[in-house]
């Protein structure tokens, strides 16, 4: 059974890609088979996975050129498989809208329902058709959030949007939880925002806090997750703990 998890937040720079890559690597460390899907035209998750093929096939080759979806999957040094992304996704986003092919991603990922235990989808910082495709096919959505004022402002709206999309499309997606990222508990702002989150979204806030840790920001330049690059760093240990908490929330309900 393949559990599909979308990582989404239209606020930029909150740690969506870092969470997608390190959660995928952490789930691999628990002996689960994981597929990472990069739906961001910036292709950050793809560069963190350091695929060796010079021009890897993406969802665009599957949609426009009729390539087999399995030919668009590559392995990473971290042990998860990846469906890469590049700026061609900008044209795909427009085509899905114009051709009325909503639900295209859910169909494409059906091919992996027996081959992987988890599929993690990294999304761009905007609620466009690509992000909606991810929210539609996911069985759960993780919301990474920086403990800062602008991030807090947008979260209630985002939860409402996710709810509306699942109601409209009759999909099973629900918000799995909010993950506090880049947390520096030495400053009051983070403590204040974190307290606000616990007050307003009590059961939804993951207990695991991801600390600000430069090793997580260095890892992608080595084509690795933080888990593989510096397994004993605070950042890596936090993502391993998050994977444990996610497994408890998803597998032992």
């Amino acid at each position: 059974m393949n559990r599909i998890i979308a990582i989404a937040n239209q606020k930029g720079g909150v740690g969506k890609t870092t969470t997608a890559v390190n959660l995928a690597a952490s789930l691999v460390a628990t002996k689960r088979k994981v597929l990472l899907v990069d739906l961001d035209p910036q292709g950050n998750a793809t560069s963190a996975a350091s695929i060796t093929s010079p021009r890897p096939k993406t969802l665009c080759d599957y949609y426009f050129e009729g390539a087999q979806i399995k030919d668009c999957v590559y392995s990473s040094k971290d042990g998860f498989d990846i469906l890469p992304g590049d700026e061609g996704l900008i044209a795909l986003e427009i085509a899905i809208r114009n051709d009325n092919k909503q639900g295209f991603l859910a169909k494409a990922l059906k091919s992996f329902s027996e081959t992987h235990n988890y599929t993690i989808i990294d999304t761009p910082p905007t609620l466009n058709q690509l992000t909606i495709e991810a929210l539609f096919c996911a069985s759960g959505t993780l919301i990474p959030l920086q403990c800062e004022y602008y991030s807090l402002e947008g979260v209630a709206g985002l939860m409402k949007t996710i709810q509306t999309i699942s109601d409209k499309n009759m999909s099973t997606n629900r918000v799995l939880g909010i993950v506090r990222t880049m947390v520096d508990m030495r400053n009051n702002l983070a403590k204040e925002v974190s307290d606000e989150l616990e007050k307003h979204f009590k059961d939804l806030v993951f207990n695991t806090l991801i600390p600000r840790n430069v090793k997580l920001a260095e890892a992608p330049s080595h084509g690795l997750s933080g888990i593989k690059y510096m397994p004993n760093s605070y950042g890596a240990k936090a993502y391993l703990a998050l994977a444990g908490e996610l497994i408890r929330r998803v597998e032992y309900v």
Copy 2:
């Protein structure tokens, strides 16, 4: 003469809004009349300007309801005027595309050519029609950039896109420069990326570095810029210096 400056970078969370708000406040401190335009449906710049009117008119009221553009301008505690933004901008983005009204923002801002010295436009973290409207009407674009790996990856592509948009639309827009934001020179990653930037984009990198300073992240929750909230903080002083450097690059060419 009203110089229109777009603040753009499709990478999320690099400090676009923080730069737009604090640059606007710094230019006011040099006795210039400034208009801030919020083109991000998240409305972060609008909340930083703490407008007192309960439901301010936005560009949507001007486009859909025929409101006068001057009725959509509000004053802020920082002394700059603001054309606010809210999630209604999502519908505006679609309408401009569907109605083929490209260039609509340039026409709207003509009304301010004699009343303001600078217009600063904050854009969302995506190259959609709203961002393209800003790039089309701007005479210069500032690119805020975090000195981290993912941010560095996207910059060359962004510069190319800005060049293509101004060639295609015969607009006068050019990249004014790259502003390094949230810089923590204690860590090697920032130094490495900063050196790479200076090597590849020599004349384009602003000398002023904006340090990571929590006062800048606290200011918006008080409805103020960092300049007004904590004028003696490192962050505020850096933005005042940036305004000086911008004036030299724009007014004394």
